[in-house]
């Protein structure tokens, strides 16, 4: 909100140096956002905080200046000349909803000639960002800027039955507003009406019909106080935000209508002539009690940590127009001026004192309080470990939006219903992700299109979904998931996940690449990760959740018999429709059960050496390594400690339906060095097992 300094100076002797003025306001809570030069005049653009509607005027700023710059308080005492005309003969006023309109004051001026306002008024309106219209409207706006209270002027001719009724609108009642828009009203909206129709939406905007024009002769000037909540709701319902509603919804001075109306009448009489009726009509829903707040001096130190001398405290409060009524050495009783709608508690006064006294005078200290919890939670520690593990495996950590594209999300989601944003910024970011993969896939698409041919990302973050509560789906209170049980038994949950995505274009071969970005590397990363968390995972080949996966290359990740995620290749044809030309393999891991640390436990180990024997066998293509390995392990070969796959080989020479597997067997005893014959026996036992179970043929 903009105000020229020269106007403020009419009321208060603020310092000449504009930098001092700017700093003074800014550090006491009213930021000067910009200093503008308007035809040689300095105009400040203030950023008012929502709690200080009383500052949003020249007079309000002058009043504040008195404390900020320790100067004299401003005076404001308009005194319009009254005539003998009786106001009751021209208008009567009835307030039907005093809770929404605690005060309604009106003046009437008759026989005026509406022209243009003076050049000074026009210039100032423009400097403050308003448009001059006619002398009467300009005068109301001028007083709004000068004194801060919103006013409205009606053309008396258009008030049917010479009666103003302040009432709630009827449902469906319509009004054409000053901005030309036609609005349908509801009974929650307060209107200023005559006997027939609504003339204005109270505190927000006047009607087009009853507005003052160059042709108006007799006018009614309204200065009222409206309920801030009601004005705010009306402004939201009608989607209109005006200078008046902006002030009313922040709360305004109950005494504001008095001086504001007197001042506007004074200005109009000066510019347009006419006769002001003998008195006002002032309808109050009971007198407003003056607020008194007790202030304990020791409390100031308890909050601020600094001793402020009592005479300084009193001086600051008085400069801010608070009245100190009585006090002893430790207590003050402070009377709050009517314009300070934001001050009602002791803490409000403490803030007033320190912002004027100077926040820069606070010393710097360190609190000694001890929080017994302190440090990171278990899940935060493990998350960090995962981050460090994966970033040491040539993966870049990605962070994506929690919102995603509803066209991609279902391809990767297999549980819960999607949560939509009611007010998304765009359709492609209109739901909350149920999987981390879609946004990572978009990152792959972008980076591959930039010419990156081989890379890997991981991301740790939450996925979100909702489901209907049934007995069997009671949320698990021990897990790391956050959840809310909402109305109609809808449960909204957030689950921590980890996703890894590897990308490689078919042709990539690089001298220094440590590992290829393929499915076996991905599996190794997953195994290594689980191992680093001292968990053992296994894999179960399955049909994938959706078409986007390569149907034959997908497996679930299991740990302690629980499903912990999945990994696999994405189908290259589907990727091509997303304009991704390389190979993409992904893993998504459910972190909720993984975010716990466990200590390693020591096991006795053999001090005797390993003996190693290599085996090369020929088996049918469809023999799975895992079943072969399990068969050997389950046979309880006494001294067999480890099986290490060396090579998988397929070639025309051995037949298309076959593959050759070469692996090493490690034997070791806890008691002795094994002899050749002991090892030989066990190797033969294994060979026999492979022959009978897999029709294996020994190659060497």
């Amino acid at each position: 909100m903009r105000f020229p300094l020269s106007w403020i100076r009419e009321f208060a002797p603020i310092p000449e140096d504009i930098n001092i003025v700017s700093k003074g306001f800014t550090f006491s809570g009213t930021e000067v956002e910009e200093i503008i030069d308007s035809e040689g005049e300095t105009v400040f653009d203030f950023n008012f905080t929502v709690n200080r509607p009383d500052l949003m005027s020249v007079y309000g700023l002058a009043r504040e200046s008195s404390a900020v710059f320790d100067i004299s308080s401003p005076k404001f005492s308009p005194n319009p000349r009254k005539s003998q005309l009786k106001i009751e003969e021209n208008i009567s006023i009835e307030v039907l909803d005093p809770d929404l309109c605690p005060r309604y004051r009106a003046l009437v001026i008759k026989g005026l000639k509406v022209g243009h306002s003076t050049s000074l008024i026009q210039k100032r309106l423009i400097q403050c960002g308003l448009r001059p219209i006619n002398a009467v409207v300009d005068a109301t706006n001028y007083v709004l800027l000068e004194y801060g209270h919103p006013l409205h002027a009606f053309d008396l001719k258009f008030i049917n039955g010479k009666k103003v009724i302040v009432r709630r609108a009827k449902d469906g009642e319509t009004i054409k507003l000053l901005d030309g828009s036609e609005k349908k009203l509801t009974e929650n909206i307060l209107v200023i009406a005559d006997e027939i129709r609504a003339l204005a939406v109270a505190g927000v905007m006047g009607g087009e019909e009853s507005g003052v024009s160059f042709l108006s002769r007799d006018i009614l000037l309204e200065g009222a106080v409206f309920n801030p909540v009601s004005i705010r709701r009306t402004s939201k319902t009608l989607n209109i935000h005006t200078d008046a509603s902006h002030r009313f919804e922040r709360g305004c001075d109950y005494e504001g209508p008095v001086k504001a109306l007197d001042r506007v009448a004074e200005l109009i009489l000066e510019m347009c002539g006419g006769q002001l009726c003998d008195s006002d009509i002032d309808i109050k829903a009971g007198n407003k009690k003056t607020e008194k707040v007790a202030l304990r001096i020791p409390r100031i130190k308890k909050v601020l940590g600094i001793d402020i001398p009592k005479d300084k405290i009193i001086n600051i409060l008085e400069k801010l127009a608070f009245k100190i009524e009585d006090f002893d050495s430790e207590n003050l009783t402070v009377t709050i001026p009517s314009f300070r709608v934001d001050v009602e508690r002791e803490i409000d006064l403490i803030e007033e004192i320190v912002r004027i006294y100077g926040l820069d005078k606070l010393p710097a200290r360190i609190p000694t309080v001890i929080d017994e919890e302190s440090g990171r939670s278990e899940s935060q520690i493990v998350e960090n470990k995962i981050r460090h593990f994966l970033s040491c495996r040539n993966l870049l950590e990605a962070i994506s939006f929690s919102m995603t594209d509803p066209a991609l999300d279902p391809l990767f989601s297999f549980k819960g219903e999607e949560i939509k944003l009611s007010n998304p910024l765009s359709e492609t970011n209109s739901i909350l992700r149920r999987s981390l993969i879609p946004n990572l896939l978009l990152a792959v698409k972008k980076n591959s299109s930039f010419g990156n041919r081989s890379f890997g990302f991981y991301e740790i973050g939450k996925v979100y979904f909702k489901y209907r509560k049934e007995k069997s789906t009671e949320p698990n209170k021990d897990s790391n998931n956050d959840y809310h049980i909402c109305e109609k038994d809808v449960i909204v949950t957030e689950e921590p996940r980890l996703a890894i995505i590897l990308y490689e274009e078919d042709t990539v071969k690089s001298f220094n690449q440590f590992y290829p970005r393929d499915i076996y590397s991905l599996k190794g990363i997953i195994e290594g990760l689980f191992e680093s968390l001292r968990k053992k995972c296994s894999f179960l080949e399955e049909r994938p959740y959706s078409e986007i996966f390569s149907q034959d290359n997908f497996a679930k990740i299991l740990c302690d018999d629980q499903e912990m995620g999945y990994f696999g290749y994405l189908e290259p044809q589907k990727l091509r429709s997303l304009e991704i030309k390389g190979m993409v393999c992904i893993a998504e891991i459910f972190l909720d059960r993984l975010l716990k640390r466990s200590d390693p436990s020591f096991k006795q180990f053999s001090r005797f050496p390993f003996s190693k024997r290599d085996l090369s066998i020929l088996v049918a293509n469809n023999v799975k390594w895992a079943s072969l390995e399990t068969t050997i392990k389950n046979a309880n070969v006494q001294n067999l400690k480890k099986i290490e796959l060396i090579e998988v080989y397929q070639d025309e020479n051995i037949g298309k339906e076959n593959k050759s597997l070469t692996f090493a067997l490690y034997f070791q005893s806890a008691q002795k060095t094994l002899s050749d014959s002991e090892i030989e026996n066990e190797v033969n036992q294994i060979i026999d097992l492979l022959k009978s179970n897999f029709n294996a043929v020994l190659r060497s």
Binding site: A364, I399, F450, K466, N512, F514
Partner: protein, 337 residues
């Protein structure tokens, strides 16, 4: 008379030695012939007590000679194998190394972890909470009623689940922590927050850290000292801070914090827009109404709270000029940190 054919043993040894081609073969050979427990020589020596006095002398001498022979032969073979092994061809050591560790942690995670570490060193708890919130925890308990203009400061994303929203700040974590733990309390809450705002300098999702300390003798001076000490540690240099009075619904008195520009040291540069100061976040003393909402006695306890943007800190710390980079997942950006 003893009848051990030492010559035969020697021959056997020589045959096996000629076959041994690796170190492990040699170890096996060594074990078989001169091993302390099962070696042939040991076995021979064990026989000595069964021989006559004269035989013992001769036999002992011969066996010892044989043992020395085995030892020197095995040792020679070891040397030979070692020699073969160490003859590495000349390689090009200017070739690139295998790329093991080119992964990176996201700059926002790095900064978050550093911030957390500083506060942990001062005894703080790292708290977290849900990202989907209800209006009570995100607004009402923070003294921001629905019908008050302070609601408009933060543009909120609402969800298609009745009464649910994406948190606009991490303050609801403070509320939940105070509800659970009451006082004393000393925590920071880092996390992602959402505001319906997307322009050059705003992202609809960004990262915040908020701090909260509640006890019987917490003052605004403690707030100032805490922030000063934190920023000194974070930027690893001498800095100063200043407070500007401000307004937040959940603190009173409230202030904006300015940090002396860590780029130019306060003399004025483009980052601080020639002011010498960087705006880094809001803070203040917890409003007694907030204490009432969570059931902490506002007479007995006082507390301070502060907030700062992790994105903002990362931008200052790393010299990043556009907040949008953080969530674009561009390799050229991520690999720099």
């Amino acid at each position: 008379m003893y009848n051990f054919d030492l010559e035969n043993i020697k021959r056997e040894f020589q045959i096996e030695l000629s076959k041994a081609s690796s170190e492990s073969d040699l170890f096996e050979l060594k074990g078989k012939f001169i091993g302390k427990k099962r070696g042939l020589i040991s076995e021979l020596l064990e026989k000595i007590p069964s021989l006559s006095q004269e035989e013992r002398k001769v036999f002992g001498k011969e066996v010892n000679l044989l043992k020395k022979f085995f030892e020197s032969e095995i040792s020679k073979s070891f040397d030979n194998i070692q020699k073969k092994k160490s003859s590495i061809p000349k390689m090009d050591l200017t070739l690139p190394g295998r790329n093991l560790f080119s992964g990176k942690i996201h700059p926002l995670s790095q900064v978050r972890e550093e911030i957390e570490d500083i506060f942990i060193s001062m005894g703080y708890t790292i708290a977290s909470g849900p990202e989907i919130e209800d209006p009570y925890h995100n607004f009402e308990a923070l003294n921001t009623p629905e019908d008050h203009p302070s609601r408009d400061i933060q543009d909120t994303f609402y969800l298609d689940v009745e009464n649910m929203l994406l948190r606009t700040q991490t303050s609801p974590v403070q509320i939940r922590s105070m509800e659970r733990k009451k006082a004393p309390i000393k925590l920071i809450a880092p996390g992602r927050v959402f505001r319906r705002d997307d322009d050059v300098s705003h992202s609809p999702m960004f990262f915040q850290v908020e701090g909260l300390v509640v006890d019987e003798s917490i003052t605004m001076a403690d707030l100032k000292g805490t922030l000063l000490s934190f920023y000194r540690k974070l930027f690893r240099r001498e800095v100063s801070i200043r407070f500007r009075a401000s307004y937040f619904p959940f603190t009173e008195p409230s202030a904006e914090t300015d940090l002396s520009c860590v780029i130019c040291g306060g003399s004025g540069c483009s980052v601080c827009k020639r002011t010498g100061w960087l705006e880094v976040g809001g803070c203040g003393m917890v409003d007694p109404k907030v204490f009432e909402f969570v059931g902490i006695d506002p007479e007995k306890y006082t507390g301070f709270a502060f907030g700062l943007g992790i994105d903002r800190i990362a931008m200052i710390k790393f010299g990043i000029d556009n907040i949008k980079y953080f969530l674009e997942n561009d390799i050229k950006f991520l690999e720099q940190f």
